[in-house]
């Protein structure tokens, strides 16, 4: 099918974009990579009367390391994140996860901001934002505010952004010293949305005990699911198979809430979560131990 007619604006600065948003907030949609928006418009699932295209706002497209954080403009393409060397060095969890997002043809256009604001519970980037403790900068015509990733996702395809706000920047702290990571998912084919997936971070003390653990799941509820109780089982302890078993059981049986879909049942999703968590925790632990020396 074809999209319904709309009024099209193509600002070339953030200021112009914010001005347009203040005039049209309730009827306007931001066009970023278009990889979710345009297909929804083609099928007339949504029919925005105004489209504000950010693809010519060059100042929204950057990735840079600054102090102890990585700053990413919301229009940076998923494909650029995948190959960025400072991301690979400072937040390797993100680098490991990027190839799981759709196909190169989609990542060439899709943006970090678009994926985050789209807030699909099956998407990788929202999960990674929570796991990496990111902060998100939103702007409207009268100012800006920072929103922690954990407060940003407000349910299925819903975020904390107000209708006139644009997501402009993502700030990710460097992963701390002695941290191991792992991203694992199961999808029917390479590039498909995953049936289940998990991002894991494990930070060790100098003595090898687990200082901090983070386990965040995709397709496991109505947004990214942070398994805090499972993390508590691990923190303060020297990790072993038994602890990993019980953390995996806690997360997969108690903390996630998968709905199932045409490819899978909730029970099978819980089973996958259990298996993936064990594997991911072991890999993360091993990588953290390599970083101990």
């Amino acid at each position: 099918m074809k999209p319904a007619p709309f009024e099209y604006h193509v600002p070339d600065s953030i200021e112009q974009a914010l001005d347009l948003m203040s005039q049209h907030a309730d009827e306007a949609k931001i066009l970023a990579g278009g990889q979710s928006l345009v297909s929804a418009m083609n099928f007339r699932v949504i029919q925005p009367s105004v489209v504000i295209d950010l693809n010519r706002v060059a100042e929204l497209s950057y990735i840079r390391a600054e102090g102890d954080v990585i700053r990413i403009g919301s229009m940076a393409r998923e494909r650029h994140l995948e190959f960025d060397s400072s991301i690979a060095k400072r937040t390797p969890l993100l680098t490991e996860a990027m190839p799981h997002i759709a196909h190169p043809q989609i990542r060439n256009r899709g943006t970090i901001g678009g994926s985050i604001v789209h807030a699909d519970p099956a998407a990788e980037l929202p999960v990674l934002m929570l796991a990496l403790n990111a902060r998100l900068k939103a702007k409207n015509i009268s100012g800006e505010r920072w929103i922690d990733a954990q407060d940003f996702f407000a349910g299925m395809f819903t975020t904390a952004l107000a209708p006139d706000e644009i997501l402009v920047e993502i700030e990710m702290p460097f992963m701390p010293a002695r941290t191991g990571w792992s991203f694992m998912e199961v999808a029917p084919r390479a590039g498909d949305y995953a049936l289940m997936g998990v991002a894991v971070l494990v930070t060790l003390e100098k003595n090898g005990k687990c200082k901090k653990a983070k386990l965040v799941y995709l397709n496991a509820g109505d947004g990214p699911v942070d398994a805090k109780e499972a993390a508590k089982i691990l923190e303060g302890e020297k990790l072993n198979d038994k602890l990993i078993e019980s953390a995996s059981a806690m997360a997969s049986r108690k903390e996630i809430n998968p709905f199932g879909n045409v490819h899978t049942s909730p029970d099978f999703q819980r089973h996958l979560a259990n298996v993936l968590t064990k594997k991911a925790l072991k890999q993360a632990m091993q990588r953290a131990e390599e970083n101990l020396q």
Binding site: M1, K2, P3, A4, P5, F6, E7, Y8, V10, G34, Q35, V38, S39, M41, N42, F43, V51, D53, N55, R79, A102, H103, P104, Q105, I106, N108, R109, R189, A190, G191
Partner: protein, 158 residues
Amino acid sequence: MTQTFPVTVTVNEKKYKREVEARLLLSDFLRHELGLTGTHVGCEHGVCGACTILFDGESVRSCLMFAVQADGHALITVEGLAKDKDNLHPLQQSFWEAHGLQCGYCTPGILMSMIPFLQKNPNPTEDEIRQALSGNLCRCTGYQHIVDAVKLAAEKMG
């Protein structure tokens, strides 16, 4: 009155100027405005890959872009690959020789996905080829001969 926008775009090294409605998809622009019907349209939601073209050298879905967004950019479609029908691009020649197509609906999108893939990865393994093909659906071949064709192309182009 319907609002239109001027678009100046280079397709297969030729410059075109048109006036378009904002909602015109790039895939429909190529097919209906420029008559370049080699770019196929299957699903219009980014899944099948039949509409894949090169946008400033990178493979993209032309069904998920508006024509107006191509203003000032350089595109390559499947028509840009061969010099003429007797001088196929080595990738096309390989599809011919290895029987990499049956009905051919998926073929233009697959070729336009494999061009940048082989540029970045001139000696791919079979696994890498299958991964790279995962964004293009073919309902005829079962993929085996497509994989063979891409392997052959890598040899020819390498």
